[in-house]
């Protein structure tokens, strides 16, 4: 049985877009962000609202393809499509945009997007290893802080940064606790609801209200668990989903997995648990603490990215998974290439079945994916 509070979570779809309009009209500044590498804390310390703009829908891709190559990852095309069509209220109300030089496709797309709205690009190092990488990233934090101070004509003090760090850590730990509910066998929540809760929270204007809502979801789910109510039965194969980010509109593979009887218990991707794993150190210089936290994100755009394997291993154990599915968007070279490393690691080291699915946002291959997913489940 689905927790009743999920209706309240789903209602955020309508509420969030009204709230962002009201806040913007009341003079609040909005910073649109594209990635889990974006230090939300700095924007919050500038008293701005942060929203996640990463495109997860097929709808604007056609328009994006007027300017971008067709053979590009759907996430990049969708993000750009929303920017050029004006179909996304969150993009519309964003005063400034923040992006990072993650993958090649994104950073070149941002050059075009930067012509539409004021945009700040953080130069992300290509590796997370070594003092130099951290120094560079620290300087990028300072540069972004300077950008916002100038744009919004505010001063971002260490005190404000520290309180934003505390707030974001509270949000992370609430989300983390929500995810951890599904470590229970059987899982109390569907992977779809887990994804949706986190995705919708990304557009939430009021951080405190968002944390409070997540805590109420946790309470209700825990109450259901105490009554023995779960989303799946004990026999459902438990899946860890890794790979490219997903959201509402790009949930195809997650949905097919659960419709085929699997319980997706762990979402390792950056729209799931990846960004929640490490907290920001509250006891050191805030800029250093932020640089450390965000640089530790185990994304495939980093070379090397062994942190992802460590995280998969930890989650696979903690969530008692029976198989790993790696979703890669078409033309996402970094995740596509890394899939071979992940496959070998999962099969040889973790001794778990592994399936890679390469697809886009469209439904054109849903039938083939269903066959592959069902066959994968039959092997578990």
């Amino acid at each position: 049985m689905r927790p009743a509070i999920m209706e309240e979570v789903e209602a955020l779809r309508g509420i969030n877009s009204v709230k962002i309009k009201e806040a913007s009209e009341a003079g609040k500044k909005v910073v649109g962000m594209y990635c889990v590498f974006s230090p939300q804390e700095i924007a919050l310390a500038a008293d701005a609202i942060t929203v996640t703009l990463c495109g997860t829908k097929q709808e604007p891709i056609e328009d994006a393809e007027k300017e971008l190559p067709r053979n590009l990852c759907p996430l990049i095309k969708s993000s750009y499509g929303f920017a050029v069509t004006g179909k996304c209220p969150y993009f519309h109300f964003s005063d400034v945009l923040l992006a990072e030089t993650t993958c090649d496709g994104k950073k070149k797309m941002y050059e075009l997007m930067g012509k539409i709205k004021p945009m700040h690009i953080m130069n992300l190092p290509q590796t997370a290893q070594g003092e130099e990488a951290l120094e560079l990233w620290k300087n990028e934090m300072i540069r972004f802080k300077g950008f916002l101070e100038k744009q919004f004509n505010v001063e971002i003090t260490d005190e404000k940064l520290k309180s934003a760090i505390k707030l974001m850590n509270r949000e992370r730990s609430a989300m983390k606790r929500l995810h951890k509910l599904n470590a229970h066998k059987p899982a109390p929540m569907t992977g779809m609801d887990m994804m949706l809760s986190q995705w919708l929270k990304g557009f939430n204007v009021d951080k405190e209200a968002g944390i409070e809502l997540i805590e109420r979801v946790i309470n209700e789910v825990e109450e259901q668990m105490s009554k023995g109510i779960y989303a799946f039965d004990e026999k459902a194969p438990r899946i860890l989903l890794t790979g490219c980010p997903i959201g509402s509109g790009s949930e195809k593979v997650l949905k097919i997995l659960e419709e085929s009887g699997a319980s997706v218990v762990a979402l390792e991707n950056c729209t799931g648990y990846k960004g929640l794993d490490v907290m920001v150190d509250e006891d050191i210089d805030p800029i250093t603490a932020l640089a450390q936290k965000y640089l530790s994100t185990p994304c495939s755009c980093m070379s090397n990215n062994n942190g992802r394997l460590d995280l998969i291993e930890r989650l696979a154990k903690e969530y008692q998974v029976d198989g790993v599915v790696d979703l890669t968007w078409q033309a996402c070279h970094t995740y596509n290439i890394e899939s071979f490393t992940v496959k070998n690691f999962v099969k040889d080291k973790l001794n778990l079945p592994f399936l890679q699915i390469e697809t886009d946002y469209s439904d054109s291959d849903a039938g083939q994916i269903k066959t592959r997913v069902e066959a994968f489940i039959e092997t578990i």
């Binding site: 390469e358 054109s364 291959d365 039938g367 083939q368 066959t371 592959r372 069902e374 066959a375 039959e378 092997t379």
Partner: protein, 254 residues
């Protein structure tokens, strides 16, 4: 008691009756436009042809892309699992199945018990499948079944496009430039061979290697593949029925 396995593919619908030991009847018809209707017609004609009473059928298992459209089946199992079980039934030493059907191609690795160890399927396009050969044969104005005989012994033309649409244009250009039908036929089979080789290489080809699906009837392609992979590739008269046999075997054990 008997079980029935029914495999409704994109081009052909296949069904068999299994008595726990042997396949005692089999039938194949073109799928046509309605997988549901051809599935029902096939089921009825199989029963009629075998003279077996409906009441003696314990279990019907459906597979293939049309499995979701069959109202009369007890279970549906994916064609990947069914091909594995079917191959294991035919020869318990089979460890790799290469299946090329009308709209997909797949490679399946099996363990000693016929369980799936790993598998790979082509992506959503028709490159390297039976449909590709059908379109090309049409462009050459021959029947798809003639490709192997016509191509044998010819020096293969290099065909670069893997996309069915682009390859057809390439074939037409080659014909216009005076290339022989024989060399184009051989080139087409070489291009499928290369595509299949790259799919197989990703999961590995452990002996024995079995070739199934409609395209396995193409002898020259089988020879090309065997040479390229450096392993012997076996097939069987029943190879097109592999999925249906696997479904029936699974059904009998349920």
């Amino acid at each position: 008691m008997y079980s029935i396995g029914i495999d409704v593919g994109s081009v052909a619908a296949k069904a068999v009756i299994f008595d726990g030991k042997n396949v005692i009847a089999k039938k194949m018809i073109p799928t046509g436009w309605s997988p549901k209707e051809s599935g029902i017609a096939l089921y009825n004609s199989l029963l009629e042809h075998s003279k077996i009473d409906k009441n003696n059928i314990r279990m019907i298992v459906g597979t293939g892309y049309g499995r979701i459209a069959l109202p009369f089946i007890d279970h549906k199992v994916t064609e990947i699992t069914c091909h594995g079980k079917g191959a294991h039934y035919l020869d318990a030493d089979i460890r790799t199945v290469i299946d090329i059907g009308g709209q997909d191609s797949k490679v399946i690795r099996l363990d000693e018990d016929g369980n799936i160890k790993d598998f790979l399927m082509n992506d959503k396009c028709a490159a390297g499948t039976g449909r590709f050969l059908q379109v090309m044969a049409h462009a050459l104005e021959i029947d798809v079944s003639q490709l192997s005989d016509i191509g044998r012994g010819a020096e293969p033309q290099n065909i670069n496009s893997m996309c069915t649409v682009f390859a057809e244009s390439e074939v037409i250009s080659l014909m216009a430039s005076g290339a022989s039908k024989e060399s184009i036929a051989a080139g087409l089979l070489q291009s499928i061979c290369k595509k299949t080789y790259s799919l197989v290489s990703r999961v590995g080809a452990e002996s024995k290697v079995f070739f199934s699906g409609g395209v396995s009837k193409n002898l020259l392609l089988r020879e090309y593949l065997s040479e390229k992979l450096g392993v012997e590739i076996i097939t069987s008269e029943q190879s097109q029925f592999l999925g249906a046999i696997g479904a029936a075997v699974i059904g009998f054990k349920k």
